[in-house]
């Protein structure tokens, strides 16, 4: 048997709007949360150095003969190869270095006139295992001018930026929650005023405040859930569309390197709609109870 609505809330203009507003807010919340999750994935990926490599520069030293430089380079190569956490190590041939430098120095460089540095590139297998300070010390001992460039600075900047964006995403979720709560509070207060005669009769017949709160609660819960589910579905649609677009832009070959949303994250996103409905329900309950407390 259907439960009797002891307050005619479903026809209220203020509560009629509720599904739409909650839907809109949940739409934004799901987008912001999934954005934050993607950024977290990206930051983790960079942090783990999946795309990382380390470059070692050995500038030619004043007074070193060609033979000496080559010998030092050989020693450094060996030291790098022995370093924990690094994978494939490669000495870049001069032609490749000239190619790298050409944007700055022009096409026609004569290596005879220009002392070229030696460049060694090493893949990072496991970032945590690499002790960059120790590596630096060892290489300096061999050639004082050796520079280890692990792209740390660039990576840290990017991760810092991602963290800021993540924070922005979370703030959006917080703001959306707050505005949702404020909206429910005002709609509920409006409902209490609109139905104050019915509420008075209910009180006089012996209804407790919690009985009246329950009327509002269940109404607000279902209204919010209706909107929230629709908002969440639309949001998932947009996320899926954006993901498709991103894949088309980067090309299929890169697909595997983009961080996606794992099952846990998808479940969390799916829970946003019911959580929002429960928050709305609780806000309505608190509003009714605190407002009614003020009358006899």
């Amino acid at each position: 048997m259907a439960r009797t609505d002891h307050l005619p809330l479903s026809t209220d203009p203020s509560t009629k709007l509720m599904p739409w507003l909650v839907g809109f807010l949940v739409f934004i919340a799901v987008l912001a949360t999934s954005g934050s999750m993607l950024l977290t994935g990206l930051a983790d990926m960079w942090d783990k150095g999946l795309s990382g490599s380390v470059t070692i520069q050995i500038p030619p030293l004043e007074g070193d003969s060609e033979v000496e430089t080559t010998a030092k380079t050989e020693n450094i190569l060996e030291a790098v190869q022995k370093t924990q956490g690094l994978g494939e190590v490669r000495l870049l041939p001069n032609t490749e270095i000239i190619e790298l430098l050409s944007p700055w120095l022009g096409e026609n460089i004569n290596p005879e006139n220009l002392p070229l540095p030696k460049l060694i590139e090493a893949e990072i297998d496991n970032l945590e295992a690499v002790d960059f300070e120790e590596l630096n010390r060892r290489l300096r001992a061999i050639s004082p001018g050796a520079i280890v460039d692990s792209h740390d600075v660039w990576r840290d900047h990017m991760i810092g930026l991602l963290n800021i964006l993540r924070l922005v995403g979370l703030s959006v979720v917080a703001l959306v929650t707050l505005s949702g709560v404020i909206m429910v509070v005002f709609a509920t207060r409006g409902g209490l005023v609109a139905h104050n005669e019915v509420i008075e009769v209910l009180h006089l017949i012996g209804a407790r405040d919690s009985f009246i709160a329950r009327q509002f609660q269940s109404h607000v819960f279902w209204a919010a859930l209706k909107g929230a589910v629709i908002g969440a579905i639309l949001s998932f649609g947009v996320i899926w569309g954006l993901a498709e677009m991103a894949n088309n832009l980067t090309g299929d070959s890169n697909l595997s390197t983009l961080p996606g949303l794992d099952t846990t994250q998808l479940v969390i996103l799916g829970f946003i709609a019911p959580i929002a409905s429960f928050i709305a329900m609780y806000a309505a309950r608190r509003t009714v109870l605190t407002t009614l407390q003020k009358i006899m």
Binding site: H6, P8, V201, L202, L204, I205, G206, R208, M296
Partner: protein
């Protein structure tokens, strides 16, 4: 069971509508409340059904001092009081059945019993065919009967009725009064505000008369003995 001592009442900052009201209602008693229009009958009943607090004086309801009764305890007291409001105050969005069922549902009576009791009572007040009607579609007399059914459905300890027979013919008026009599026989204390000399003569219960905010009480409601013994003990 009910005791008023020097009770005064005003609406907001307005003039005192009721002055020095002192009376007692013994358990199981039956009184009429009369007086000219605007004398304060409805206001006195409002104090009794806990819609307003007095501006001064002492009110004991079911032997509880109202002034020291916390707000959370009021619903329990109110559930023991059945009220027929002068303007019915039926809930327009609910059917006759759901209006009458309201007190039972509020007290958490099982739906099976609600169905049984409400149908029986609506039968008795002659509204079998209007069970699903909304109040808007009922006549004044039919609404009044729904209001009475709602007031008595939970067998209250105290029944307050404000002009409960104002909209029905004498025959129906007497029939409804028998409902109140029946309740009274089972122990319910009854107070009925009415203009109808016909009812008063027909049933012969003692009359409390209110005029211009002050109350004259018959011996049955003066609580004289109790009051005097209290004076002495002070």
């Amino acid at each position: 069971m009910i005791r008023f001592e020097n009770v005064g009442m005003r609406y907001g900052a307005g003039p005192e509508i009721l002055r020095d009201i002192t009376f007692t209602l013994a358990p199981g008693s039956f009184h009429f409340l009369t007086g000219p229009s605007g004398a304060g009958k409805s206001s006195l009943l409002r104090l009794l059904y806990l819609a307003y607090r007095p501006s001064r004086g002492l009110i004991h309801i079911f032997d509880k001092d109202l002034a020291t009764t916390p707000r959370e305890k009021l619903p329990i007291l109110r559930r023991k009081i059945g009220v027929v409001f002068q303007d019915f105050r039926l809930l327009d969005h609910l059917s006759a059945f759901d209006n009458v069922a309201l007190p039972l549902r509020i007290s958490g009576v099982s739906e099976k019993q609600v169905q049984k009791y409400v149908s029986e009572l609506l039968d008795w007040v002659g509204l079998t065919h209007h069970i699903n009607a909304k109040p808007r579609t009922l006549s004044g007399g039919q609404k009044q009967r729904v209001a009475i059914a709602r007031a008595i459905i939970s067998r209250p300890k105290l029944l307050l009725a404000d002009e409960p027979t104002g909209n029905v013919d004498d025959e129906m008026g007497v029939r409804l009064m028998y409902l109140f009599q029946e309740l009274n026989k089972h122990g319910t204390t009854v107070l009925i505000a009415t203009h109808s000399q016909h009812l008063i003569d027909h049933f012969g219960h003692p009359v409390m008369h209110i005029e211009d905010g002050t109350l004259e009480v018959p011996a049955s409601a003066s609580g004289l003995k109790r009051y005097q013994s209290m004076e002495e003990s002070v």
